[in-house]
Symmetry: D2
Subunit: 364 residues, 4 copies
């Protein structure tokens, strides 16, 4: 259970790292949206391993096929089945994982939960699972752009101890993809790249922060009480591998302020209700206010390192393990499309939910 996201724009992902394939089924995409594999592949290419020296050298092309739900170039309103074969499978790399639990991985907890585990490359716990999310997110992205004029862009804002602030109103995907580290500030990007290369040589790893902005969202998206937009965004990104924290708007730093410093005052601008500041992060009481949504996600340093660590065996004896195989010294660049995918899934779902609630005066 727990492999489905969304109420109205619903995504179910499936697949283990070294099984035959991975994929996703999207149910609830509205009909008559133009769609082909070419709309999806670019997002997958940003997530795929082996893009640069900064990421794992596993060779996967993640070539997506649409198996249903699209006819003559248009969505049908029926489920869209997406599939990507697994190509570069070397289970031999993982024989040690069969016998020992990797520290800060999910080997032990899956076995505790299920009493059985696919030890090849982490099985279902592998970040490879996120390819299905990214493929589904690309459809959500197109729906948001074409039907609602909403744009989602994320970038790396911190790697290890190197952080930088960028203007959430202006960052473009082109700027983000200008360097393999996906930080739009080029000077910081260079230093981040150097830091990642240093830890890689050292057999170690780094974590960091991804910032995400959602621009063009109309007021009124999100639901009160449990399904607040920020609550769904938090769940969405905290469901990504290696994420340890979420904050929106002023976030943790905002706790230092007084109410008089923190409140976002309203004013009228061109007939539109605006706020002078955006410490709310585009959401008030769980519902969008028309300002840019800005949130940040913390990712821990990659758990797999090329160093010997203490651990226990499946037979419950103390032992040691040393990472091998092909892994990322820093997950951040590949986390960017994952965060964008989850944000688009949340927003597409709430866009559709608001179709139901929308008062008549807004429709006409």
């Amino acid at each position: 259970m727990g492999n489905t996201w969304g109420q109205l724009f619903r995504v179910t992902t499936w697949g283990e790292s070294h099984g035959a394939a991975i994929g996703a089924v999207v149910d609830g995409c509205p009909p008559r949206l133009p769609l082909s594999e070419a709309d999806i592949q670019p997002d997958l290419d940003r997530r795929v391993p082996g893009q640069s020296a900064l990421t794992t050298q596993r060779k996967e092309t993640d070539t997506v096929k649409i198996l249903s739900g699209v006819f003559d170039g248009l969505t049908l309103g029926t489920p869209i089945s997406l599939e990507m074969p697994n190509l570069d499978m070397r289970p031999g790399d993982y024989q040690e994982v069969r016998e020992k639990y990797r520290p800060s991985h999910a080997d032990y907890t899956y076995e505790a939960k299920y009493g059985v585990r696919d030890w090849r490359g982490g099985g279902r716990t592998s970040a490879r699972e996120t390819a299905g999310r990214v493929a589904a997110g690309a459809i959500a992205r197109k729906l948001l752009a074409e039907r609602f004029g909403v744009l989602v862009v994320a970038w790396v804002s911190k790697v290890g101890t190197l952080g930088v602030d960028c203007d959430a109103e202006k960052v473009t995907r082109q700027q983000v993809d200008a360097t393999p580290i996906r930080c739009p500030d080029l000077a910081t990007a260079e230093r981040m790249i150097a830091a990642v290369e240093a830890v890689r040589k050292d057999g170690d790893s780094l974590g960091g922060i991804v910032t995400c902005a959602v621009r063009g969202c109309p007021p009124g998206w999100g639901e009160p009480v449990f399904d607040r937009l920020e609550a769904d965004l938090a769940k969405a990104v905290m469901s990504l591998p290696a994420s340890k924290g979420f904050e929106i708007g002023s976030g943790f730093a905002g706790t230092d302020l007084r109410g008089s410093q923190h409140n976002d005052e309203f004013y009228m601008e061109g007939g539109r209700v605006r706020t002078r500041t955006n410490r709310s992060g585009g959401v008030q009481g769980g519902i969008t206010n028309g300002e840019t949504i800005v949130f940040r996600v913390a990712f821990k340093p990659t758990a797999t390192i090329m160093r010997e660590q203490n651990t226990v065996s499946v037979a419950h004896e103390d032992t040691t393990i040393k990472g091998r195989g092909r892994h990322d010294p820093c997950v951040l660049p590949r986390a960017v499309p994952m965060v964008e995918a989850m944000a688009t899934l949340v927003l597409a779902d709430h866009a559709l939910r608001q179709q139901v609630n929308e008062p008549d005066h807004r429709r006409s």
Copy 2:
């Protein structure tokens, strides 16, 4: 929509701040759990306004009645309906809110969403709504304690700029409730109280952080992919009014570390798989590992302040507003039972979900 929490332990809350009553319906509580109002009222008493000079002076007793689902002192397995009347309603206090949107409140966004709004005390957006959650959470708390041996305790770890670390393995509810600010470190508590009183006199407000520990949780709770335990915890607390951030285990600070510093090494202790450190926060790959779950929630400073602020009217004209009525200069002490309630709802739900997945060898 969005007023229901949970898959198997399901809670639906209802009620506006100044309507006839507020309440909750709990569906999915297992049968034969001893239950009466006396199990629920203490948690509500911790959330109720007017507890101390630190909180709003609205006088509500939040006296709960169980209207269904319990017979002869035992739960029946049928829905448990919980209800609390609204007593201290002074809609006259809110006439200005009828005409103007309060900064950093949800007045504007609700109107944008629904085209209609109950302006009395914030209506459904009021923190009063959380009484239903706390009542339901008290049932979850009892289920967790009696059937699973799980204990949830939260406390205030930061108010404004005053923070303190406490031992998540040891903090008790008695320590938390020793002072009205609900920080178990007494020296810090005194300084926090002084800080809150200072801003109250100043007509201003403070935010802060609540830390929550879940002790005694067995390994294996939580679901892979979208319903990871930390994802559900994040959603749960980010659905609380005024929350702006969530982190688990090492959280945002963990992004400064290298993998070799961050990983939690496994070792055997008394036949049990343990970790030497707990930067994972008790959860790996979305599933509990048997260590204490520790997470933190950031709350912004209370939006209502007794100062004049710029805003706009419902007629979309620039204007000003000044808080009046009865409000909290600092929501943190009352946020403690809210965070506990949401944590217990998440854990009770996953406890039941694991009944289904549990491998036979664990049962026998």
Copy 3:
């Protein structure tokens, strides 16, 4: 679990027959629908016991209160909490039920399921539970009528062996309510009433059939595959106490026909696609075609009879039991508003679901 109906127009009911109250929470009703208790009470009055000599003499007024979700006469888009106190509780009538399982009731199965049971009047298994459904259905009825022009009307078409066909395009509520048996054919109604009175004197009971028509439904409501409109209608009415069968359009009798006799040929009428016959019952492939939806529901004879029957005790010994207390010799007249309620809940849900799927050309 299982106490919630609907995806977008969601109803959760609660309450035992002899608890403090019964009620329902409606989540997802669109905002700005005019609503007051006066819209709901008439439907409840049709379901209430003691309406005539044909039904149980338990005296309940089922006076409904709206506790939330409505402000200044309009729905807010927030949950609508509905409550009806239980007045005429005589648990003394049920002492024997505490010790013995009533044949063809749910006493035994509830105890088998939960290991505990509220034996007072059947507890949650009582048909009294349907009051919450009828109250919620009245809101759905208003939404359907005012926003979509859809009308739902049901009537008794068979009691015992006495059946009659009425014109599904024309039956009115006024005709239905003209007699206490709720059969719009007056000659048949008289014979049915005589039959019910005869079995009542005999301490026995009768079953029958309710037919329901939905008029004015546009084409396009319903979802493919699992949530076909007829599937949801079937589930809805098969969830009512005492129902044993469902059929739509030609139903079971249609299996006698050949395809050439059964098919509904299309033709154009006034620019509208119509069918010459309606053996489909208004639904094709799970989706409405714009013709009147017609379905029939079989109800078994009331299980409680004033005769001695063999049964077993809770101690698992053979024994006998004889009905006492206040019960319906024929549930059919009171089943009419129940069937209407369930039909309106299904249709309101699908009306909202189609808001999401509706192609743009339909909107403009």
Copy 4:
């Protein structure tokens, strides 16, 4: 939407009749169930077209592949992705369907709903979609048999006007499959086969009834109120193509009886609570009582016939159409595995749901 079945044993199907493939994702199958394609293929082979002269001559092998969720022959507790390629696609057969709505098919309603339609072989509305259900049902069947000792068997009990009663306690799959018509009464089977061959030559079609028995079900499965077991069974089979009616136990015929004739008296047998008769059909108050569950499903005559019929074009002009291509003169034999599949999906779901509710005394 509407392509997912179940709460805990969840199945999502996807695929159009003439797309690349069809399939299903099963989420919630418990871990460590032995499973391979060989467990699934036999059920698919019973549904596949071209089995005999009685069914459509479309040539599909429906060869299933398991793409995820199984490792070393055991289920992992993760989603099981099932896929079957579409082989025999002749869209040329359907050019007329592109321009005209087939009577009593879903061509018109899909276009009314979505504003777009895959006209090749009915697209998503094709009975081909049920292959995904049957594949998923085979997994549910294995779970029910191995973990719970529950057996599901269905058969054809009526074709056109030819009906027969069989003993629901005894019919075996071997008896059912002894003839291509799948009626275990051989004499009746022969007459049914002759009737089908007659209408086929005549370019016409027949409907009929499938009866289904569930044996070995323990008491206590099913949920009160909306998710009664019979309600879920009704929805499940009414979601199948061409089904027009559902009845359980005494069904529609039971409305002729008096309560004194209809009630199922309890008695003790070998320490077990039993009923002397089974007019309840194995379910009381929505919950199983340990007796065999028996229900019947009405299927209309196949809509596609080789005769000219009146209809309208997509341009909304009156016209005529005549069936061509490859179709079933009688869907009943292939409906048998479909009904079994839906019954197993319902029962597997409720089996898992009862794990959560089950009182402790039952577990120990």
